[in-house]
């Protein structure tokens, strides 16, 4: 089975490298990678649901906007997604449904406070038969 994501070492910040057989899987795995920086996902239940839809002018911009939307939903409302179902994805828009729950410091592990996905070292490209993306987060 293909690895979903791995963390990459960056002094002062935190980053992930996500993989996917296609773009929807890449976007879902990048989101899972982002959440894994925030908490241990194995302790998160799938009791809540949110729908997300974002747009951008480029594919790179879309990946950043997608992750920043999820960071916003977490930072403002505490939502942590565990199951990520991408509904529709084009070069300029993505819509998805996420199942997860509201973060509870008493129950969930507190890891990094991810503040934003950035354009720093951002890359998204097809490598042989799969897609790969690198994203650095402000923390």
């Amino acid at each position: 089975m293909m690895k979903q994501f791995e963390t990459i070492d960056i002094s002062g910040d935190a980053g992930i490298r996500a993989f996917g057989r296609d773009l929807p899987e890449l976007f879902a795995n990048a989101a899972a990678g982002m959440y894994s920086l925030v908490t241990d996902l194995s302790g998160v239940a799938e009791t809540g649901r949110i729908d997300v839809s974002v747009h951008s002018e480029t594919l790179e911009g879309l990946l950043v906007a997608w992750l920043n939307e999820l960071i916003f939903r977490f930072d403002a409302y505490g939502f942590v997604g565990k199951k990520i179902a991408i509904g529709d994805l084009t070069d300029i828009g993505v819509s998805a449904t996420l199942s997860g729950e509201e973060f509870d410091p008493a129950k969930h592990e507190q890891k990094l406070l991810v503040k934003a996905a950035t354009y720093h070292r951002l890359s998204i490209h097809k490598k042989d038969d799969h897609w790969e993306a690198e994203v650095v987060f402000d923390i």
Binding site: D75, A76, D104, Q110, L113
Partner: protein, 373 residues
């Protein structure tokens, strides 16, 4: 004095950890309606003082009196409002901290006298900012600037350095929003300082007068400001963005409060949680050579993951306790990420800026108790 606080340090750290919300997913104790949040964006620390968090005299020792002009709440997105609503009065996570320290060495007796500092004195340092609110403003405006870069045909070497000409509507809007975030941050630190005083009063059974916990100085560690500087012999108005840098204005600068006008601006340089922090003063040389700026902190030598790997199997809190430093942290991995050896030695960094003359050492502060997010 150190000996008064030392016997109570464990309880004090525990109370501060409880009273000042910190860490991932923590919510503030202050409940804000949309109108309150707008007032914070316009008034900054002044809002906090008007609502009972601290004293009017605190504002005199805060950069820009804790409230910068030109903030425009109408330029703030609903997302930033939503993110900021529950985070006023919270410490955050990562390298943000609240530290109880004592002065173990004075380098400039005269300046220390004017600042009311002496050896063995207990101080508190609070390092935090505009929290998720400021980050949402940044995220929102990066999109605006992305478009501006194309519109004004600017070549970028890093997409994160997105920008726009100062006179453009994009830049004007950004500054209005950024100033709102700066005010949010000043209010945040003011509230946290207030709860810190309350914790000391409660734990040491002392009145505010007995404690004498007066604000030395509050200075932004990431802000863009319009300032006057001399370039090639000519006075010019410039936008100075200090990120990873701290303002260090010289004696006589009109921006300084009366109490520090002759002295120069107090500069706070935090080190890692196990070694030291410093209080310095701004100099004319900083004005001449570095646009009135000095360093911001120690800087990392290890990435967070390297630090976590290095700390495997160790109890960092116990290593710190053995050195006489009580630490409390919300995140399990935070202490590993923030351990001393992950950072450069602040004393070496401060020695460089001192010898370069862009700020001068007044006092060294040693940690006794640390609250981390």
């Amino acid at each position: 004095m150190k000996q008064d606080v030392l016997p109570r340090i464990r309880d004090l750290v525990e109370v501060l950890y409880r009273e000042v919300p910190s860490g991932v997913g923590s919510k503030g104790k202050i409940r804000l309606g949309p109108e309150d949040e707008k007032k914070i964006l316009l008034k900054g620390a002044r809002w906090a003082v008007e609502n009972g968090y601290g004293n009017a005299s605190d504002l005199r020792h805060t950069e820009s009196s804790g409230s910068i002009d030109g903030a425009d709440p109408s330029l703030i997105s609903s997302k930033a409002y939503e993110r900021g609503r529950a985070q006023q009065g919270t410490l955050g996570s990562g390298n943000h901290f609240l530290e109880i320290q004592y002065i173990d060495e004075i380098y400039d007796e005269q300046a220390a006298g004017v600042l009311g500092l002496y050896e063995g004195q207990v101080t508190v340092m609070i390092h935090t900012g505009s929290r998720g609110f400021g980050h949402q403003v940044c995220t929102d405006f990066l999109e605006v600037m992305e478009r501006a870069v194309k519109k004004y045909h600017i070549t970028l070497y890093d997409r994160e350095l997105a920008c726009a000409p100062f006179q453009s509507p994009e830049a004007r809007d950004y500054l209005g929003a950024m100033r709102a975030a700066a005010n949010y941050a000043w209010a945040n630190r003011q509230c946290i300082m207030h709860w810190t005083r309350e914790a000391f009063m409660k734990e040491l059974h002392a009145s505010p007068g007995e404690l004498g916990m007066d604000l030395i100085y509050d200075v932004a560690h990431n802000i863009a400001k319009v300032e006057e500087h001399t370039v090639d012999g000519q006075k010019r108005k410039l936008v100075v963005h200090r990120k990873g840098a701290t303002r260090a204005f010289p004696p006589g600068h009109p921006e300084l409060p009366d109490a520090y006008r002759e002295l120069g601006q107090p500069v706070l340089i935090p080190g890692d949680m196990g070694r030291a922090s410093y209080l310095l003063l701004g100099t004319q040389k900083a004005m001449d050579e570095t646009f009135g700026s000095t360093c911001h902190g120690a800087g990392r030598v290890m990435s967070r993951h390297q630090a976590i790997r290095r700390a495997k199997g160790r109890a960092i809190w116990r290593e710190m306790a053995d050195k006489g430093i009580i630490v409390r942290s919300a995140g399990r991995e935070t202490l590993a990420e923030e351990m001393s050896e992950a950072y450069k030695d602040i004393s070496n960094v401060v020695e460089v800026v001192h010898k370069a003359g862009i700020s001068k050492k007044v006092a060294r502060l040693r940690p006794m108790g640390v609250v981390k997010g």
